[in-house]
Symmetry: C2
Subunit: 392 residues, 2 copies
Amino acid sequence: MTDFNFYSPTEFVFGKDRETECGKYVVKYGGSKVLIVYGGGSAVRSGLLDKVKTSLTENGVTFDELSGVKPNPRDDLVYKGIDICKDKGIDFILAVGGGSVIDTSKAIAMGAVYDGDFWDFFSGKTAEKALPVGTVLTIAAAGSEGSGDAVITKIDGMLKRGSGCDAIRPRFSVLDPALTQTLPAYQTACGATDIMAHVFERYFTNTKEVEITDRLCEAVLMTMIKETPRAIADPDNYDARANIMWAGMVAHNNIVGVGREQDWNSHNIEHELSALYDCAHGAGLAVVMPAWMEFVYKHDVMRFCQMATRVFGVKMDFADPDTTAREGIRRFRAFLHSIGMPINFAELRADVKDIPVLLDQISKGAMRNGGFVTLSLDDIGEIYRIAARAEL
Amino acid sequence: MTDFNFYSPTEFVFGKDRETECGKYVVKYGGSKVLIVYGGGSAVRSGLLDKVKTSLTENGVTFDELSGVKPNPRDDLVYKGIDICKDKGIDFILAVGGGSVIDTSKAIAMGAVYDGDFWDFFSGKTAEKALPVGTVLTIAAAGSEGSGDAVITKIDGMLKRGSGCDAIRPRFSVLDPALTQTLPAYQTACGATDIMAHVFERYFTNTKEVEITDRLCEAVLMTMIKETPRAIADPDNYDARANIMWAGMVAHNNIVGVGREQDWNSHNIEHELSALYDCAHGAGLAVVMPAWMEFVYKHDVMRFCQMATRVFGVKMDFADPDTTAREGIRRFRAFLHSIGMPINFAELRADVKDIPVLLDQISKGAMRNGGFVTLSLDDIGEIYRIAARAEL
């Protein structure tokens, strides 16, 4: 196990209708003039936004609004939000939505107390301070409600880049599983895939002697395998939604990932797909991640056998461990397919002819050394090609 | 799943020699005049106390000291610490030790900013504020390094009682697994038993639909079953120690226990044993917990079958689930015996004739309704009797 610091100070407020308490928590964490950030129609139509505003007003908190956050959120709205914060003296950002809304809010929070361009924090600089952020989560997926991370796409060049620091960890996050009951099956499955990917990015490591975090990772994965099909078959199943929602937080606040080298290459490889095609991040991951696994599994066959046997219930083939490893990957892809995820380029509506474009984009900034296996640009091209032609 | 708040703001500073950074973290969390609380000789002899003092001095922090904390820590030392804090204007408590030292520090922290008797907080009152507490952990066991709980014994009447609030959650906790390498096998095993008990107290619940926390509980238990024998066979095995240390925190900061009714009857039943015999808490739990399981398992045989199959690898007997449930309990007791724990009154040096005394003590305050099975005083008597005569 490697040395680490773990710091997750967010207060999680979990349960049905608890969004009606958000005003109280804004006050508790020092907010008086709030910018509410949200996406579009669904938060309005469902009545959620009204509940949030009522709770703020009842607690003496004033607010401005910024709507229009889209999936794969972009920098233009961040600049707009920063301007509002500076003009209106906003002292707290309240994100009402999923990962895109929360990440936009985090970027605004950093930019609002910074004299330079907020994009600096997505180009390697670490933010020392930010406005406090709270969240009312509506999709179990990104884990941004419990993390110090944000991902934003710069329209100029369509660069999708991440930023991370303790200052943007939410002060509180309201997790009401009932809010996710209205999600369509496809979005539910995309979220589930993202959650599982957050675990796998941590699970595949070269760090030895990490039994506790291995077991915690496997706990989240097995939960997702049980609960996701239930939520898709019965969208109003509160308990399935609740298990998924807490699993999504646990998957990404890093308690399952400390003390070990992590990978994150699949995320980087996927980011170029969703930047180019504006597809759902989870859908892109469903195509990329099993392909990445097929490309790298020989690097540590036993680790893949562990996944196959412990998570997917594959019987170990002691005479031919490769078979066991590959069967684990096959079952993962079959699971993704069973919940309605695309498993190849055609199903994602991506085009194999665009691979040079994807590689050109990835070479501009997201190439990383390290992780489970260091990948060259050629390696990434091969992973895209495996992903393009994948079958069940 | 039930509603909950989860709040664990402690910064965990994990790794070899990281106690040399403790001065930096005291300053980060607002300390300038520290009371160092510790037990006795081992922190001095090992050189740990000198390292801590050096780190404080290098960071411009002054300090006073309070030594002499014993296992099953008592109120007299708490009063002494409170007096020092008030006399010297202490603004931060640094616990250097295990659960007893940390709990003493937490009690002092509450009492130092309170005009009344600190025991009020162990008699049902909730503390609203406390001096900030930091820890340098030397034993993986109590989980107090990441919890908002403390347990203290009042000498007058030998009442062992708990207190809990967010104000006493440590600001930071240094977890250096190497510090636990000098622990004797017996103490290592007592700590491991306590960690497993913290999980079981959460695992046995009447709340349905808690797959994520079930799986997380099982992850910690399986880790302990793997790593504890390794640490006992090879005390200098840093990685085994590291896995146990992080498991001990995860077991008790409540991330594996949210959203579900918990039990804690075994802890209450044990507390009277350690109060009367001054035995190690973990040793008492090793005797009590399997006996409690035998007494209650018929309340939910399938939950015990889940434990038996998932944690202890028992094959499910579908024709006779009781057999599977009992085999899981048998394997738990056999595991405890294999790591050198007592499994009955004789091995604990407890006397069956004292059961009326134990029951009289427990009737004075620790009787609780609820939990997995509500226990009458007669039920508790029967659990003590099962514990008294237990065999492998």
